[in-house]
Structure formats: structure tokens, C-alpha cells
Amino acid sequence: MTMPRTLLLGLWMLFVWWSLLAWSAEPALRGTGDLGVIIERSAGRILVVSTSGNNVIGRVEGLGDLSHASVVFSRDQRYAYVFGRDGGLSKVDILRGTLEKRVVQAGNSIGGAISQDGRLVAVANYEPGGLKVFAADTLEPVADIPAAYGDDGKLSKVVGIADLPGDRFIYSLFDADQIWIADLREPKSPKVEKFGNIGKAPYDGLVTPDGRYYLAGLFGEDGIALLDTWQPQGGVKRILANYGRGEEKLPVYKMPHLRGWAVAGHQAYLPAIGRHEILVTDTINWKEAARIAVRGQPVFVVARPDGRQIWVNFAFPDNGFVQVIDTLTGQIIQTLEPGKAVLHLEFTPRGEAVWISARDDNKVVVYDTASFAKLAELPAESPSGIFFTARAQRIGF
């Protein structure tokens, strides 16, 4: 009588042990809202990071030449689309830490965007100049829109791409001084609207967070091209014209970058070209509101998500500094030296912390944006761009 009972108990314990084992072998479930990626530009690798733990949780290799790389995220924030310099478009599963698919779709590219519905990924190419559009799930080609201009149909380098509501992409033609809007609601037959004479040599562009205005920074002249995409029939206007007042330009050792992060409240903070200044413009009447003298040629001028602070990094040779501006007073309230060759900075989704990459010190530094205390340092090989998944939910990112 006692034997079967012992056996039964033994079997039951075995079952409990086995189910515990099975349960512990299942990967822990997690979301991706606090994740992001860091580009290791010379290694062709990205780090997957967590802004909750301030740590690296994974690495994905084999992404090609990332010397100029940018990233957009799928709307579920699980996949990162990485645009490499060598024309590579890679789809990375950041939860699994795997490279899902990679296509080399051009010889030389600068960046990309994802459509409002998340189904299309567009890449802005330098060589051959134009826009190529891919299905976000498979990376199968969907549309090819060469940036041909002039009588001989030369191809222009494409810069400053951003998504617009209605599955449209807006971008600038560096060599043609034009802004184009490609409408991909019918992906097989895209419609392109072109705007000429926008000003000389647009180098990058941004869409305001509401998706209404497109601004193209001009390298070849003082001023910024502005298009109201709600009323495109009004054409492109010039704002901040002649901001240099005819003075000789200072050399620019790195091109500034523009994105919707430039807007804080009802003002936009934009890098001047060839002047160590930030230009502040009102986003209602688009008149110059102020200018703020800073340490060097601004590259990234980024508003903290609440708009209370603007953080700025600089081109060589001032690329060891980061300055912080209080938007209430317009004063610089902090100058930091995070490390050698600061290339990029990214705020956590609600802005309590900022991550800053210092390429030549092979590290990423995390600061508390209220106290400016250093919260963490993460080793990374020649880190450049930092991209958090919260971008997935923002127009123009």
C-alpha cells in the first residue's frame, strides 16, 4: 500500500520540477518602448540598449558601412530599419537581436523614412540620386523615383527626407534646389509634386511635429526654405533670409542635421550655417525671434521633449562640447564636455535623461537633464547615432 503512494508523490514532484524548468526556459516577455539602438560606425554593428537599465542588451553585426547611418522604427517598435552609407537597408529585430533582412539598394545613401501607415520604407540616395521605396515587412522594392532634373535629366543627391501624413514623403534635391513630395497612397503609381527655386543647395530638412511645415536648410545661401504642406499651392517661401548680414562665413567642418526636434513650443531652433549661432524663429509667423551665440558651428540642435531646454553639439574642432540653452531666458545654462568628438544626442522619450555619443572616447554618456549629473557611461566602438524606439510614434522621424 505505501509503495504506490510514495511513487505517486515522486511522480508528482517530478512533474512540478519539470514544469518549473519549462517555465524558466521561456524567454521573459518584455516591451520595446524603453529600447533603442546605437550605431557603432566603424564596426558595421548596432548596440541594442535599454533606457530603463542604462545598459546594452544586445549587439547586431553585419550592417555594412555605417559611416553615416540613420534609423527609423516599425510602428510596433520591434524592428529597426537601418540606412547605411553604402546603400544598405537592414531590418533588425531588436527583441531577438537578429538581422532579419538586408538589401543593398543603391551605391550611396544618406537616410530614410517610414510611411504614416508603417507599410513603406523610403530611402534617400546620393548614388544613384533619387528615392527608392520598399515594403516594410519584406524589403521588396515597391517604387523607384529618380531625382532627375534639368534638360539633360541629371540625377540629384537627395537629402532631408521626412514622412508626411497621407503616406507621402517629402525631401530636397541638393543639386537641383528643389523640394519634392512623393505621394505613395498608390504605391505602384506614385505621384510626385515638385517645387523649384527653393534656394541654393538644400543640405537637410525637417517636418514640424504636426506634419504641417517642411523646412529645408540652405547651404548655398543665408536662409531657410519653408513649405506649408497644408497649402502647398502657396509655394516655397524663404525665411530667415540674409541672416548672415553679408558677413563672411566661418568654415563649416560638418553639415548640421535637421529634424522635428528643432521645435520647442511655438519656436524653432535652427543651426546657422557658417556662424556660431542658433537662429530662433516663431512657428506662427516664421519671423526671426532671436539668435543665440554658441560655442561653435552647431550640428544637432535638439529640444528636450518638454521644450524647456535645447541641447546643442558642434562641428570639428569644437566637437568636444555640448551646450544647454534654457528656452525661457534664451541663455546658455550649461556647457558640458562629455568626451572627444561628440557626434549625436538623443533624449529618453520624456526627456529626463539624454544619451550622448563620444566617438573618439569610444563611449556613450548618459546625463540627467535636470541636475546635469552623469548617470552612466557605456563603452561603444566609435559610436555615432543614437535612436530610441519612441521615434516610431512621431511624425517626421
Partner: protein, 138 residues
């Protein structure tokens, strides 16, 4: 006689050149090609540009790869700025390349680097670009 043969004669008779020797000879030949190219366009480059100290050379390699690379690409295959690979530069006079580096090209995005480079260093960079620019040592 094939020019290649003459170089091999530099090695001791009746012995095959060592592996290192072959690379050395290759290096000399590339150097001579660079000099020949230099000689056609520039008196300055007719002489071997004085090599910077190893430490400075590392800085210059990093500067070209990383800072010039922000427009010309880390691989120097081009970006907003043109490619800087030997094939792309072969037809351009080295003196012009040197002064483009030092003085920039007004009306374009190319800035002057003279604040950060001596003439000799610019010469050295041009010579390296023409023979295929070194990778950064890690």
C-alpha cells in the same frame, strides 16, 4: 626587359625574395608611381613629402577617415563630397588637391583645413590618398 624583373634583381642573386621583401618592393613601386604622378603636377611633390611622426600620422589618418569622412564617407567612397579613392583622384594635379585641402573650395561645402594642417601634412595626405589611404589602427 619587363620592369618587374629589374626590381627583383635588387634581392640577393639566386634567392627568391622573401615575403616581406616582396611587400617592401611593392611599396617602393607604389611610392614611385605616386612620385611620378606628383612630379607631373607639382614641384613640391617631386620630393617625398616628409613623413609626420607616427603619433601625428595616426591623428591625420583618423582626421581624414572620421572628419573628412563625414562628407566623403568613412571609406572615402564619397557622400555629399566626392570620392577620394585613388581612381577618382588620379587625373587631378596633386598641387590642386593640396590647396583644395588647405584653402577649401569657395562656393562649395569644402572648408579650408589650413588652421589644422601644415603644408607638409597636406602633401603627405595627398600622397596617401593617391596610393590608397591607410585604415585606422585600432
Amino acid at each position: 626587359m619587363h620592369p618587374r624583373r629589374r626590381f627583383f634583381r635588387l634581392s640577393p642573386p639566386n634567392t627568391k625574395p622573401s615575403r616581406e621583401g616582396v611587400f617592401f618592393l611593392l611599396g617602393v613601386r607604389i611610392g614611385l608611381v605616386a612620385l611620378a604622378l606628383g612630379g607631373s603636377g607639382s614641384l613640391v611633390l617631386a620630393e617625398q613629402p616628409p613623413a609626420p611622426s607616427p603619433e601625428r600620422a595616426r591623428e591625420l589618418v583618423r582626421m581624414v577617415r572620421q572628419d573628412c569622412g563625414s562628407c566623403h564617407g568613412l571609406t572615402l567612397r564619397g557622400g555629399l563630397g566626392p570620392a577620394l579613392l585613388p581612381d577618382a583622384l588620379r587625373d587631378k594635379p596633386p598641387a590642386g588637391l593640396k590647396y583644395t585641402i588647405l584653402l577649401g573650395r569657395p562656393g562649395t561645402a569644402m572648408p579650408p583645413w589650413k588652421t589644422f594642417l601644415s603644408e607638409a601634412e597636406a602633401d603627405w595626405i595627398v600622397a596617401q590618398l593617391l596610393r590608397g589611404f591607410p585604415e585606422e589602427s585600432k
